[in-house]
């Protein structure tokens, strides 16, 4: 019985949405995307543009909030394990070695939601209090 309870606690700990634990963001995708859950590792690859295709074949199109947004700091810390400044340094390395450029940015939760709604392969994150319109679906984040 003790083993069962410990296992249950461990399981809950593993699959609990990171948003709940970080208290700052939720991850959203276009409603046409069948993905329902992503690990933080997968999210990190997506936002570092190391994952390029969804299982349905669509291009992965990540969208960021501005660097000044507190939600972005929470997302960056929880998903990448890096500060926003460290992520910026990563992109500087990519840009100035001629490799890649960072994801597009939208200035607010509303505009991230609108972008994801109108872009089939888009994925973004917004604050937990953001209003999700039809056409956008929340994705569970698994540790």
């Amino acid at each position: 019985m003790k083993f069962a309870i410990l296992s249950l606690v461990a399981l809950v700990g593993l699959v609990a949405p990171a948003a709940a634990q970080q208290g700052g963001y939720i991850v959203i995708v276009n409603d046409a995307n069948s993905v329902s859950a992503l690990t933080t590792e997968e999210l990190s690859k997506i936002f570092f543009k190391k994952a390029q295709r969804w299982p349905n074949g669509n291009d992965v199109v990540p969208v960021d909030l501005p660097e000044s947004a507190p939600v972005r700091e929470a997302f960056s810390t929880a998903v990448h394990g890096k500060s926003v400044g460290a992520v910026r340094a990563y992109w500087q390395q990519q840009i100035f070695s001629g490799r890649a450029v960072p994801p597009a940015e939208r200035p607010s939760d509303e505009q991230v939601v609108a972008f994801v709604r109108t872009t089939p392969g888009a994925i973004g994150y917004v604050s937990t209090g953001a209003t999700l319109s039809p056409g956008v679906r929340r994705v569970q984040v698994v540790r």
Partner: protein, 364 residues
């Protein structure tokens, strides 16, 4: 005219150098600038005179046309001033640094055109001040302005092996041609070294590779590389080969980097390396220390004599306002044969020249 162009590029760069939001238009613009003031003691080194100079900077504007998620054109033109260095005499104020087409196919990246050479930790970003711990990449290893090129006119292919594994490998190969500026030493009638004279030579049949092993420890990787090239004219005409090894460890507590390389060219062997350590002492403040060396062997001379070509110690500090705005101060103690003045050569006494640089770097 030179000042007008320089000032224009600096102004444009600064005007654009805001912490801009990532762009998503098909045409994207990025750039960087590092402006420095330096002064030397005991001679001059890399264009830094005893009287001091602020004519010391690197800058570039990068235009990137993103056709699709996997296809892009990259055009970067750059500007460099090295004070009074003879190496940059005649160098254009603006030059096409890169102009290449890149196609991404899964883990394969193909490039065609004038493209940065993947070599060591810093070759591709050797002028990007916000990415360098000191003003320039370690000189003995990377050199500057002479005996080196950061770009090649040709093709390159990069492949990421075992990309999903904690241990993964990044492999790059390239081939093509480029121009290299050599630095020749002239002697006066008494047989004493009297001047350094630059000479642009054509390099053909350049082939090279760079392999990085990324480890499960984030920020820690090890690399090896090699290249061969045919220098078509000048005092160093002939086939050159080069090998190098790198260790790059960047953690939140410290950065430690070490690289070693060996050149073999007709009649000469050149080995060089460095160890760098950087330690953050406050949230935005980092202290830097670096030891560099290079040796030269006259491989076809009787007894193959070996010379300590350079020994340099460097100390510095940097303050990072933001990832795209950094101020640095550094002091270098050199002892060898790289100094612009006094002009010297192996067989003569080495020059002991020290110099400092204060610089700020920005990018967008």
């Amino acid at each position: 005219m030179r000042n007008v162009l320089s000032t224009g590029l600096v102004v444009v760069t600064l005007a654009l150098a805001t912490p801009a939001a990532a762009q998503e238009t098909k045409l994207q613009v990025h750039g960087y600038l590092t402006q420095a003031y330096g002064a030397a003691h005991g001679g001059s080194f890399l264009g830094i005179p005893e009287a001091g100079t602020a004519d010391y900077r690197t800058a570039a504007l990068q235009l990137r046309y993103v056709m699709t998620a996997n296809d892009q054109f990259v055009w970067q033109f750059s500007h460099r001033r090295l004070g009074q260095s003879p190496i940059t005499v005649g160098e254009p104020e603006l030059k096409v640094d890169w102009l290449f087409y890149s196609r991404q196919m899964g883990n394969l990246d193909l490039r065609v055109g004038r493209l940065p050479i993947p070599a060591g930790i810093y070759n591709e970003v050797r002028d990007v001040g916000v990415l360098l711990p000191l003003y320039r990449a370690p000189f003995d290893f990377y050199l500057e302005g002479a005996f080196t090129s950061e770009t090649v006119d040709g093709v390159s292919a990069g492949y990421h092996l075992f990309a999903d594994s904690p241990w993964n490998v990044e492999l790059a190969v390239y081939g093509g041609r480029y121009d290299m500026t050599n630095s020749n030493i002239e002697y006066d009638s008494t047989g004493t070294p009297s001047a350094k004279v630059p000479e642009v030579v054509n390099v053909d049949n350049a082939l090279g590779t760079q392999i990085w092993l990324n480890t499960p420890v984030e920020g820690v990787r090890a690399g090896v590389g090699a290249s061969r090239l045919d220098v078509q004219s000048g005092n160093f005409e002939g086939k050159w080969t080069e090998r190098h090894a790198s260790l790059d460890a960047r953690t939140r507590w410290a950065t430690v980097q070490a690289e070693y390389r060996r050149f073999a060219l007709p009649g000469i062997g050149y080995t060089a390396g460095y160890v760098y350590a950087g330690v953050p002492v406050a949230p935005k403040v980092k202290l830097h220390g670096q030891v560099e060396f290079s040796n030269l062997v006259l491989t076809t001379a009787p007894g193959a004599p070996r010379f300590d070509y350079d020994r340099t110690k460097t100390f510095g500090a940097s303050y990072t306002f933001r990832a795209d705005l950094v101020v640095k101060g550094e002091y270098h103690f050199t002892n060898g044969y790289w100094a612009d003045a006094p002009v010297t050569d192996i067989g003569f006494a080495p020059a002991k020249v020290s110099y400092f640089l204060v610089s700020f770097s920005t990018s967008f």
